[in-house]
Symmetry: C2
Subunit: 173 residues, 2 copies
DNA sequence: CCCACCTATGTCAGTCCGATATAGATCGGG
DNA sequence: CCCGATCTATATCGGACTGACATAGGTGGG
């Protein structure tokens, strides 16, 4: 699912600027979150290819807002992309990798890793949109998926942290 | 957690070829899985920097096996990397992205997406190493983390699929 | 009033993925 | 017994993506 397709998806729900597309996925960032460095070039390419249109909105003493809207051709291409075989999900976790080597680390470091990871999961859980903000059944499914996974993760961490405290005295203060 | 650090980590547990490093992470691939295209250059760079040593082992009518081993300097660099602030976890899911647009898709496609995703999760769950294969407390933690997450995921999918079948008749045949 | 943060665009170096190339060994099924 | 599939094992390369940086003024809280 490349950044061009992601942009088409957002734009199929309404007009937006590149900046707004980025912001949108900071919320849904638990499963996609392209950077500016890929969004802006993607939007340029889509414009070239006639899949989106731009209109510049002048702003006083600021760069123009460039508002993108999807074209009928863009909708066709997007729908077609959703019908193609999807790439597999990828979960990349520096935390879990580091935990493989917990035995090499000082106890306070292991404790710190736990703490940061719990904080990260809590923050992301809190950032998920409200149920009242979702409109389609698909969005509800995705939202609940995220909520379920984060809650499970936090439960597991709390429970395991106690165990680690036994094995590595002082690891949990 | 870049590929160089990942290679150092594996080599800190024992000598391996690039090929073996890749294979190792097909098992733990639920949280890291670098490709050949990044492993081989990483090993070359590590060799240049004196963090690993290579010895070539001739093989009859096959390319030499290049067996890498970590140096004391490599261990120091690895340990230091584990003490630095870690990047955040990233979960990239083409499936969840596509599900945001389930309302635009034909019911059989949504059904197919579910099926493939369930199959993927089952396959990965089955691929996790046996408990008897793990040696450290950290490895056990990571393994159980993976198991817990996949089982939760599969439960959620089974339960939601029934709901989707109500909302989108025929979606689950 | 200042500092931090927000809106908003964009570039660039470095990193990584996925496909491709090469080449023989091994193994099960028809 | 042979054919295709899969495995070992190396490596390169184009294209995609990230994260940091640059620019520049507005807004709001302490």
């Amino acid at each position: 699912m490349d950044v061009r397709t992601i942009c088409l998806g957002i734009l199929s729900r309404g007009d937006h600027t590149g900046y707004e597309i980025k912001k949108h996925f900071e919320i849904d960032g638990f499963f996609v979150e392209p950077s500016f460095g890929s969004i802006y070039p993607a939007l340029n390419k889509l414009t070239e290819d006639g899949l989106v249109l731009v209109r510049a909105e002048a702003q006083l003493k600021r760069p123009d807002r460039k508002i993108y809207s999807i074209t009928p051709a863009g909708r066709r291409v997007f729908l077609d992309a959703l019908m193609q075989p999807l790439a597999e999900d990828r979960y990349r976790s520096p935390f879990l990798f580091a935990m493989l080597f917990a035995d090499l680390l000082p106890a306070p470091r292991v404790d710190g890793l736990f703490e940061e990871f719990v904080a990260q999961a809590q923050r992301r859980l809190a950032q998920l949109p409200e149920k009242s903000d979702v409109e389609t059944e698909g969005e509800r499914f995705v939202l609940d998926f995220g909520r379920t996974m984060y809650i499970t993760m936090l439960d597991y961490l709390r429970q395991q942290r106690a165990k680690f405290a036994d094995v590595v005295p002082n690891a949990a203060e």
